[in-house]
């Protein structure tokens, strides 16, 4: 184990402050509403900010100038609401000369990349799994310890990342980079089974049925008895954390975002 000597305070850069000094960072870290307000998801944002600081990435957040992406509104069929948000956000991007965006939320990743583009936004959008995979490949995030080597990790593909946008390898690369043993769920990659949060389900009661979607997915997870269940989406995180609690397995199985896993592995 490496010796930690110091606690560093991280100051997350904000676009408006940089602009005041005439600076334009290379990346916008789009935090998204979940990552900004939800207590569990905020931990993902914090872990990712640590990784960005550790890797020395030139970035900033919009801070209070960020507004909801309109993703849940779009999926709910509230096209007006969505486009009002999108068009206003695109204006802010233009104002700060934003060209490249990275986000921890696959829903926002997808909507920024696909639907915002239809509204004329010219953006290079990365999900944090792609971004972290790249940083690891560039040697900017080096894991030299065996901290996670004895752990078994499984990965739940978020619908809007995997099947929705074809990103399958990058989150797996990130997990493997920790030296942990990776097992696949029975339903994985393009055939992954939803956690139940997408399509604005997060904001409503589920319809009547035999069971809940998150419970069904949690059963897939229990089958492979991992030490850690990894995901790469704040909504999957909430659903599966509930699922693991519901099955009373929270002592045995930790639910982590890939950013948290990596920050843990680096002991940041």
């Amino acid at each position: 184990m490496e010796e930690t000597i110091n606690k560093l305070k991280i100051k997350v850069p904000v676009m408006a402050d940089l602009a005041a000094h005439g600076k334009t960072p290379e990346y916008l870290f789009w935090v998204g509403s979940a990552g900004s307000y939800d207590d569990r998801a905020k931990k993902i944002s914090r872990a990712f900010a640590k990784l960005l600081a550790h890797a020395g990435v030139d970035y900033a957040i919009l801070g209070t100038e960020e507004s909801d992406s309109g993703e849940a509104a779009k999926r709910a069929g509230a096209e007006f609401n969505f486009q009002m948000q999108a068009i206003a956000n695109i204006e802010v991007f233009k104002m700060y000369g934003v060209k490249k965006i990275v986000t921890c939320d696959p829903h926002d990743y997808s909507i920024l990349k696909n639907e915002y583009a239809q509204l004329g936004a010219e953006l290079e959008v990365y999900h944090h799994s792609q971004f972290l995979d790249k940083l690891i490949a560039q040697g900017k995030l080096k894991i030299s310890n065996q901290y996670l080597a004895s752990k078994t990790i499984t990965f739940h593909d978020p619908c809007y990342l995997g099947r929705g946008n074809g990103v399958f390898d990058e989150p797996r690369n990130v997990i493997r980079s920790t030296g942990a043993h990776m097992v696949e769920l029975k339903r994985s990659k393009i055939r992954s089974f939803c956690c139940g949060a997408g399509g604005a389900q997060m904001f409503k009661e589920a319809e009547k049925g035999k069971t809940e979607v998150f419970a069904a997915r949690t059963e897939d997870v229990l089958e492979v008895t991992p030490d850690i269940l990894c995901t790469a989406c704040p909504f999957c995180m909430l659903m599966l954390t509930d699922g693991i609690k519901y099955k009373e397995k929270q002592e045995q199985i930790k639910v982590l975002d890939i950013a948290e896993l990596l920050a843990d592995a680096l002991q940041l």
Partner: protein, 439 residues
């Protein structure tokens, strides 16, 4: 001569009926809203080659995929023999392509092999549906008619193929008995195995059997041709254009509504008020006529295979939503409304609608937009596109979303977040953030 005239009349009638049936489906599809789909033609042709002709998605379920390929290839090739049958029927010839000699023998033997494979595959399919009761064929939306439909098709295939083999066997013996007197003899791989059954019959009986086999085969095929447009089996025709016109963007990408962009831009002042369009129709879809023509085509291309519902998280956890049912409802409604319009005029309306009379709000709101159904569909149907159109209608025209969804929308409007948090607190997560400095 009588037989020739009779045959020609039957053939013409069958073709005329078929054309009429197809026109009805085309009419039903064109009830939908216009949507132009013609970008990236090269990619579209490639996708069609891979998915529709190459059955690219069927193989994901190896057993049914493999059997389906046999029936598909068998059906296509055996129908090449239809060309000979038609020529023989019209001109009164007998096995006109027999002049090819040995290659003809090989060709027909090959067809016979396929016929046997098709029969076996159809039997397995029948067993899976009716005896093993494979789960995806037992869902509530598969009411009596869709189940009978599937069985009719499979039985018809078996009868057609058997007629072909029996006809060939009887013919072989007849020819054998006349061999040498200016008649070529052939014997085909599979039907020759049937010879012992027919050997003891006299030639006249055999001629009757051979003719019966011939007529059953050709009449069966023509009847089949006209049954197909009423059945889920129209997918054998529509699968091709349906794949060609399918979405090329990533699964998750949902088209924006340009009419909304226009209004939002006017509201925000980036577009002059004079750009506003009056009477642009409803937002989203309540009925068939509000859907795009492609949505309706999707419904006619649906094979009712249930692959979509078998992977649907809502359906698999016992919710009412079934993407297969969404497609079947859309088709049923399209047929119902187009029939009504044919009888009562193009502007008439029967007062019913897809949303409400067929698909309920409970189904529409259960979807997680996970796109598992879209990914799974062997003929690249987009079920989510219809679900989203219905949601749009409910939200934008009826304000009939679940109350918590309405609350979420209000929050987004008021404070730029789906929850009731102040915009000023958006960056609070950055406070007191420390990191270990690793040496």
């Amino acid at each position: 001569m009588v037989a020739q005239i009779l045959f020609s009349m039957v053939l013409l009638t069958a073709i005329a009926l078929f054309v009429r049936n197809v026109r009805r489906i085309v009419n039903a599809i064109s009830m939908g809203r216009p949507q132009s789909i013609n970008d990236q033609p090269a990619l579209r042709w490639r996708k069609m080659l891979l998915v529709a002709i190459g059955q690219g998605k069927m193989v994901k379920r190896p057993i049914s995929g493999f059997l389906h390929i046999i029936v598909y290839v068998g059906f296509l090739l055996v129908n090449i023999e239809m060309i000979e049958i038609m020529i023989d029927g019209i001109f009164g010839t007998h096995r006109i392509f027999g002049i090819l000699g040995t290659p003809y023998n090989w060709l027909i033997s090959g067809f016979e092999m396929l016929a046997i494979f098709v029969i076996v595959a159809c039997i397995i399919f029948l067993v899976r549906r009716n005896i093993l009761k494979v789960k995806r064929f037992q869902a509530v939306e598969l009411t009596t008619w869709p189940r009978i439909d599937a069985n009719i098709i499979l039985l018809t295939e078996i009868i057609l193929m058997s007629a072909l083999l029996i006809m060939n066997a009887a013919d072989t013996i007849i020819l054998l008995r006349n061999c040498g007197i200016g008649v070529d003899c052939y014997s085909f791989l599979v039907s020759s195995l049937l010879l012992p059954i027919f050997n003891n019959l006299d030639t006249n009986t055999l001629i009757i059997i051979e003719r019966a086999g011939w007529w059953i085969h050709i009449l069966g095929v023509l009847a089949f041709l006209n049954y197909i447009p009423y059945s889920k089996h129209f997918h054998i025709a529509l699968a091709f254009p349906n794949v060609w016109f399918s979405k090329l963007q990533p699964n998750a990408a949902m088209p924006n509504m340009p009419e909304v962009t226009r209004e939002v831009e006017i509201m925000m002042g980036s577009r002059p008020e004079s750009d506003a369009i009056e009477n642009q129709g409803v937002f989203g879809a309540k009925d068939i006529v509000d859907l795009s023509w492609k949505n309706i085509m999707d419904s006619f291309a649906c094979t009712e295979c249930g692959r979509c519902s078998a992977v649907c998280p809502a359906n698999q956890t016992g919710k009412k939503l079934s993407p297969r049912k969404i497609m079947m409802d859309t088709r049923d409604r399209a047929e119902e409304l187009s029939l009504f319009k044919r009888l009562h005029g193009a502007d008439s309306h029967d007062g019913k609608s897809l949303l409400g009379n067929y698909i309920t709000a409970e189904e529409v709101w259960a979807c997680t937009t996970c796109n598992a159904c879209v990914e799974e569909c062997p003929v690249t149907i987009n079920q989510v596109s219809i679900i989203l159109a219905l949601r749009r209608y409910m939200v934008m025209e009826q304000s009939a979303a679940p109350s918590t969804i309405n609350a979420m929308l209000t929050n987004i409007e008021n404070n730029g977040a789906p929850w009731k948090y102040a915009a000023a607190d958006r960056a609070n997560w950055t406070k007191e953030l420390y990191m270990n400095e690793v040496k």
